[in-house]
């Protein structure tokens, strides 16, 4: 199996084999972070640019750590202080970064499809670190990696994705990845947060968290993005917690070994109680650790693909 894509834009365009290649490669990379010298020379002499148009700490730092453990040089561009403020377009910014002879742009943008536009206009690699409500492929890959590590497989698993499906790129990437690998995905949210036509992806929908928990081998609890609530229809926080919040009482009725994931940052007491977040079923911090291995694999593969094309 060869990796041929110079970019990683989303999981929708990937085959099952390509997703598995990333996961297998990530498994090999995980060991690097357990060494005393946490660094390999694979991307020595390459430059990765973090171009984040939206605030992010964990994803940006995770990519930065991943790139540095591969010996790449990392440059962080803070958009607030860059020439984007002076009106430079996305493609112009990208072309300037390319002209600096960088090799990979890791981009987060509030517009769906932004990574796609950049990738089409540049020869260097583009890795999507989240675009609008569209996709966040590395988050889904690390969720799936963690799930596979915990339960040994993905095929046939019942996975519930709970929360703000409508505004969530994490949900979309997870749906594509999980269904391609043969999991049964159920989306659980208040009706106003379930977008019309989402069933076309192959996922089921439900508005009853207790029903979903009965069957689930794992749940991925999304963050309620209250900062995106600009007067739009959004449930009231306490009401949401009552109806959809993951609590110990609710988990007690689920499968004993149910895996509880959350992409972070957690709103404790809104999406889940503190007991659940810190409890035995939670793999939230393992997700963070696995994120580095997954992002190392992605950076390595996209840079290899580009090289084989030359």
């Amino acid at each position: 199996m060869l990796w041929t894509k110079k970019d990683l834009l989303g999981l929708e365009q990937l085959t099952k084999e390509e997703i598995n290649l990333i996961l297998d490669t990530a498994e090999s990379f995980k060991e690097v972070s357990t060494r005393e010298i946490k660094k390999v020379p694979a991307l020595r002499g390459k430059t990765a640019v973090n171009l984040f148009y939206e605030p992010s700490t964990r994803t940006r730092v995770s990519f930065e750590v991943a790139a540095k453990r591969l010996s790449a040089d990392v440059i962080n561009i803070a958009v607030e202080t860059s020439s984007v403020r002076k009106g430079e377009t996305l493609v112009d910014t990208g072309k300037n970064i390319q002209a600096l002879k960088a090799d990979i742009i890791i981009m987060r943008h509030s517009c769906s499809g932004a990574a796609n536009i950049l990738a089409r206009n540049l020869n260097i690699s583009v890795v999507n670190a989240g675009d609008g409500w569209h996709e966040h492929p590395t988050q889904a890959l690390l969720d799936i990696f963690t799930l596979k590590e915990k339960l040994g497989k993905i095929e046939g698993l019942n996975v519930g994705i709970v929360g703000d499906i409508a505004h969530s790129r994490v949900a979309r990437s997870n749906i594509w990845g999980l269904t391609k690998l043969g999991a049964n995905v159920t989306l659980c949210a208040p009706k106003i947060l379930l977008p019309v036509g989402i069933e076309l992806t192959g996922a089921k929908t439900s508005s009853d968290i207790d029903e979903v928990l009965k069957e689930a081998d794992a749940i991925n609890v999304l963050r309620m993005q209250f900062e995106r609530d600009e007067g739009a229809a959004f449930p009231e926080q306490l009401e949401y917690f009552k109806k959809f919040g993951i609590t110990q009482e609710r988990l007690a009725r689920a499968k004993k070994n149910i895996v509880v994931m959350h992409p972070g940052p957690i709103n404790r007491g809104i999406e889940m109680s503190s007991e659940v977040a810190d409890g035995a079923n939670s793999v939230i911090l393992e997700q963070v650790t696995n994120g580095i291995a997954v992002r190392m694999a992605v950076l390595f593969l996209v840079s290899q693909a580009k090289d084989t094309k030359k």
Binding site: D24, V32, R35, E36, F300, D307
Partner: protein
């Protein structure tokens, strides 16, 4: 691929591994502080067999690990194919140990160069020694083996194929003319 010549069969490989085990013990004056690391893929199987042979002689398990050198290759940026990154598993401390690095075929020496770089990232062994099943010549770097199963003079047009029970279901070493 043209006709293949068998250089070693199962008995031959077993004898070679037993001899290398004895030589390792002799050179290190025992097995104190000894550990063995095989280079993926086939070096790992040979490393395990050397460790078994040492156990038969000395009665003690030698820590044995596996090393993947893909990320240290000097042709990573040039490689036409795409190497698969596999797992490195060294779950013991290599500091101040006498470490025996094991591979199946010693050829240009570039794999060993990469392996040495990788090992140094894991610690500072007291010594690193090299054991190979076959030395076929044609070195491109100043590297030599301490323990050699069989010296096989080859031409660059030939290829050396090592097949091992655990990986391929059969023990044999073949030389074949490349197309």
């Amino acid at each position: 691929m043209k006709e293949k010549v068998k250089i070693l069969d199962q008995e031959g490989i077993n004898r070679v591994i037993t001899r290398i085990a004895h030589e390792i013990i002799e050179k290190n004056k025992g097995i104190y502080g000894l550990c063995i690391v095989g280079i993926r893929n086939r070096g790992v199987y040979i490393a395990r067999r050397i460790a078994e042979a040492i156990k038969k002689i000395e009665g003690i398990d030698i820590p044995t690990g596996a090393l993947d050198i893909t990320l240290y290759r000097d042709d990573l940026a040039l490689a036409s194919g795409q190497p698969l990154v596999r797992k490195t598993e060294i779950d013991f401390d290599i500091n101040d140990k006498n470490l025996v690095l094991v591979d199946d075929v010693l050829y240009t020496g570039r794999t060993i160069r990469a392996a040495l770089d990788a090992l140094i990232d894991f610690g500072r062994p007291k010594t690193i020694q090299l054991a190979v099943l076959v030395d076929r010549g044609h070195r491109e770097l100043p590297i030599r083996a301490d323990f050699v199963g069989k010296n096989i003079p080859t031409s660059n047009k030939e290829s050396v194929e090592v097949r091992l029970q655990d990986a391929d279901g059969i023990d044999e070493v073949l030389i074949a003319e490349r197309e």
